[in-house]
Amino acid sequence: MTFLYELRKNKVLFLMALPALILLVLFNYLPMFGVILAFKNYNFYDGILGSPWIGFKNFEYLFKGDAWLITRNTLLYNFVFIIFGLILAVALAIVLDEIRNRFLSKTYQTILIMPYFLSWTIVALIFYAFLSADKGIINQALTFMGMHPINFYSETTYWPYILIFVFFWKSVGYSSIIYLASITGISPEYYEAATIDGASKWQQIRFITIPCLKPIIIIMTILSIGKIFYADFGLFYQVTYNSGALYPVTQVIDTYVYNGLTSMGNYGMTAAAGLYQSFVGFVLVIITNWIVKKMDKDSALF
């Protein structure tokens, strides 16, 4: 009854929310019911509902196969991205904050954030210009120095480093901005008092800047831990040009699911991999949020 009363009273508000609610139902909630696919032997003619149930067979198949590899790759890359990402972004923010010339500071920021706005297609092609086997800059340099050229797109050795470099190249400027904004917000009085007491610059950074950044560092880190089961699809798919020879070091859960969907045609097992990701991801977010709530109630997501 209260609902009907509210509906009449706030008719317009409901109407305003309606387009968004419809989009959520169609593109988010409808696919959620599709997770039953993971427990079915899907075939196109019977559809999602009609295909026969097979229990946990898809998961068994997945965990006998590539599950370990793709989980390891996803987690290892994300650990590196989180830990080094944090150090680099905070360091960069501190350095940027020390630049007193406003014009220079703005210019540096503009340039450093720029790669963030390029699509992975473009980033992949840009780095291809360096890594290409016959025309690439790196191989030209190697040949010039009398060394053997490297066929990068079929040689696994270098890819962990290449992917880590490309990731930071694209995103570190962007992520430093959020720390920079917090540093700018620290009261100058702290630094004035410290200077009067004779604290050096390093001491000021260590005992004022870093402690003041601590809350936001914790929140950002915990949020990214919540997403540790998800990889950046574009990075791992585009930059490697989805080269099969590189899979042992470049295949992550997201690319595995995509390749499964588009080339293997094994919908059931691919859906199982997707559900495995969503489910573990969900549990991690819940745990993460619980920890955030313990530490700082206002920063919790829900």
Binding site: A20, P31, G136, I177, F282
Partner: protein, 301 residues
């Protein structure tokens, strides 16, 4: 230690120099790869096949661009697709997002928490790629349509959070109250008061959305086979993956058609430059909104 009366926190000159040097090196690292692709696009095809990619072309040439513009049916078509999707997608997404954010920002609305949870839950759990794919193709029948390039990205929980937070912080409840007493209806209040007051927030969210649509290749790759709906990014990607790694699943009619049109090495980089330049030019103007949005949205979500 040198001290001036106002700037206690200033670095000594030597450190200032070191910090500037660090940043200059980083900026060069950011820019050099981009300069390289510009250089390649202006290199003659002969020099490319003889000497490979070079920062300073041994032979300059505009041939790549001439080629692209002369044989550019597919490019022009793709440009229409990209521009159309970006323009319509951004406007549509802003409208839906603004309406929903406003409803969620109304503290007096009884169901706002229920609706907010309905939204947040999508950030926590999703069905994954395969169910989405099957729903979009077999249930909603959106494959190979213009709207499949727009709808999946049109409502992002992150954007709604940014905009809702912005509205709560910058629009006083008293103003809305006063307008209501003067007899203004909800739609009038939304269009004449809420939207104008939310401009910086809208600009931030608009920028994120615009870049998402402009840069998207994923939806095209997944759902589009009709060459008329291939966007610039997707076309670029198809060209590249065809030249070096003709993969097992890249043999569709679309690919062959694209390949027949643009075989040249430099032309590929010329297309990249054409796709890249608008973003590079537009972004500095949006930068301040972008930074602002990041600081609002970054804390929550």
């Amino acid at each position: 230690m040198e001290q001036t009366s106002s700037k206690f926190n200033q670095l000594p000159k030597s450190w200032n120099l070191v910090f500037n040097l660090i940043l200059i090196v980083l900026c060069v690292v950011c820019i050099i790869p981009i300069i390289l692709v510009y250089a390649i696009s202006f290199t003659s095809e002969a020099s490319l096949s003889a000497k490979g990619y070079q920062f300073l072309p041994s032979e300059w040439s505009l041939d790549a661009y001439r080629y692209v513009f002369r044989n550019g049916d597919q490019i022009l078509q793709s440009a229409y697709v990209t521009i159309g999707v970006t323009a319509i997608g951004t406007l549509f997404s802003l409208l839906v997002t603004a309406l929903f954010s406003y409803v969620l920002s109304r503290r007096d609305f009884r169901y706002r928490n229920v609706m907010a949870f309905f939204l947040f839950f999508t950030m926590l759990f999703n069905g994954g790629l395969v169910p989405s794919y099957i729903v979009n193709t077999n249930v909603l029948h959106l494959a190979d349509s213009f709207w499949i390039l727009i709808l999946p990205y049109s409502l992002s929980a992150f954007n709604v959070i940014i905009l809702r937070t912005f509205m709560q912080q910058s629009i006083e409840t008293a103003i809305l109250e006063a307008a209501r007493i003067d007899g203004a209806g909800e739609w009038y209040i939304f269009a004449r008061i809420v939207i104008p007051l939310s401009k910086p927030g809208l600009a931030t969210v608009g920028l994120f959305t615009l870049v998402t649509y402009w840069n998207d290749w994923f939806l095209g790759q997944l759902y589009i086979t009709n060459p008329k709906l291939v966007s610039l990014q997707y076309m670029l990607m198809k060209l590249q993956s065809n030249i070096d790694f003709v993969t097992s699943n890249a043999t569709s009619a679309t690919n062959n058609m694209l390949m027949a049109q643009i075989p040249a090495e430099g032309a590929r980089m010329a297309i990249l430059v054409i796709v890249l330049t608008p973003i590079l030019c537009a972004y500095p103007f949006f930068q301040k909104y972008f930074v602002k949005g990041l600081t609002i949205g970054g804390i929550k979500g």
